[in-house]
């Protein structure tokens, strides 16, 4: 269970650039659910994920993961509960390290790192078979540096990396946005299968309403740093993009949706 209670985030407090990114956001996520998150630019989606991951310390409110209050715990300490894939493939993996080394780094997330060899023989085989499952041929390039790979290949590996060590929540922030359509499709399918296989509690921010409805078990929409829409179960099954836009309009008291702000794709 992930609990965000009455979260507020104010950037640049007391300066002319002061910006309230989250204003009293409440959200509870059951273990095992796959939540897709949508909302216009600047709605606070990335900030919400940042608060969960520990990158952003909230101005007020509380973050709990599995019943533990983690509001003031650093990103590194929280990483034992939180797995992540970033939007930019360059952020989520380490270009200067090999594929194998990246995997080893991710496999040790949440455990104590000591003087033992990072890549022993048993781990090497395990990594190889996990990478082979991608069917991208990368299992033959385990000693290649990550920066030799394409964005899509790196993103696919980042997903594998996120599932090597256990986690209580997987955070995906527009992780297919930087990819070409074919690769984006591939990474989404991979996401789906990994989430199912490892029964991961997942929060996925997406700019595509299509993706938001096609994947996952629940969809929330943020606006102005709050949850303004939350659909799950039967009511979500038959929902169309048009319905979603209509619901957004109602929730905003008649305000129409800017096409640029929310991609209808």
């Amino acid at each position: 269970m992930i609990e965000l209670s009455n979260l507020s985030v104010i950037f640049g407090r007391g300066t002319p650039l002061e910006k309230q990114a989250l204003s009293g956001l409440d959200l509870k996520i059951e273990t095992g659910s796959f939540v897709t998150v949508i909302g216009s630019n600047g709605a606070g989606k990335s900030t919400m994920l940042g608060v969960l991951a520990g990158d952003v310390i909230p101005t007020s409110g509380r973050v709990a993961i599995g019943g533990r209050d983690v509001t003031r715990i650093t990103t590194a300490e929280r990483a034992k509960y939180v797995a992540r894939v970033f939007q930019d493939p360059l952020t989520g993996s380490c270009g200067a390290l090999t594929i194998q080394e990246n995997l080893a780094l991710a496999a040790a997330r949440g455990s104590r790192r000591g003087f033992g060899l990072a890549i022993g023989n048993s781990r090497r085989d395990e990594f190889r078979s996990r990478v082979a499952e991608l069917k991208l041929g990368l299992e033959n390039r385990m000693n290649d540096r990550m920066d030799l790979l394409s964005g899509g290949q790196r993103q696919a590996l980042s997903l594998v990396m996120a599932t090597l060590a256990r986690s209580e929540v997987l955070l995906l922030d527009e992780h297919t946005a930087a990819l070409d359509p074919g690769m984006a499709e591939f990474v989404m399918e991979l996401t789906q299968s990994l989430v199912e296989k490892h029964k991961l509690t997942t929060m996925m921010v997406t700019h595509s309403m299509r993706q938001a409805l096609d994947y996952g078990t629940r969809t929330v929409m943020l606006h102005g740093g709050k949850v303004i829409l939350d659909v799950v179960g039967e009511s979500r099954k038959n929902l169309t993009i048009e319905d979603l836009i209509e619901m957004f309009r109602k929730a905003r008291g008649g305000e129409t949706l800017d096409d640029d702000a929310l991609l209808v794709s």
């Binding site: 990103t75 300490e77 990483a79 380490c94 390290l97 040790a108 949440g110 790192r113 000591g114 990072a118």
Partner: protein, 293 residues
Amino acid sequence: MSQIAFLGAVELGLVFAFVAIGVYLAFRILDFPDLTVDGSFPLGAAVAAVLIIAGWNPWLATAIAMAAGALAGLVTATLNVKFRILNLLASILTMIALFSVNLRVMGKPNVALINQDTMLSPFYGLGLPEFYVRPLFVAVLVLIALLLVWRFLASDLGLAMRATGANPRMARAQGVKTSLHIYLGMALSNALVALGGSLFAQTNGFADVTSGVGTIVVGLAAVIIGETLFHSRLIIWALIGCVVGSVLYRIAIQLALSSDILGLKASDLNLVTAVLVACALILPRLRRGRATA
């Protein structure tokens, strides 16, 4: 160049191989431009020399010299991590402070180690001439240090340190406490540099406060020569490159100084080094610039 001069250059190159490996750890692994070494090198020399003169076991004296170097590295890391001072500036502050500290440690600008028992003394009596014993002894220590550093960088902890330097945001997301690794890496780097300083004092028979000037540039020159020679992404080759680069650098300097045509004096050394490193830094950039143009 005579054989003795050649072996002398090799010996000095091997002593500075510790500096090169330390500089490699800071600059390349941690991406931390660290000038502390200009202070931690003479610090290592000063601490070892003073303790040896006071009658301490030279091995223990050297271990303490390394601890002093580690402490200097920790000071720089603290200024940077805890007090958010820019890394380069933090290291300059420590370096400047160490000039005073080193004078305090020694009590005077220069301390001689003549007729003192050093780490090398037991090996002088084995029949080989001293100018062979010295480089051989240092070479063995360099080999041990190289293997230990290599093994460390291949461990989970070492991998986390490499990620800290290469992509701190990703490292933190993977549960790596990046500030811890900056402390650890800076301590390790400067301990190695201080070990170099301690061996410098013991092989040359003196410690001098001014002996640190330009250490960073010499270390960097060795790292860059090694990278140019081996051109490999593998850590082991980078480390071997540090050692080979350091020795080649000293031989090149020795050749330049002993050639009458160039007419160089020993005091031109820093200028020659600076020009060499500047070229090594500029050349790859020019090549890349042409490729993208």
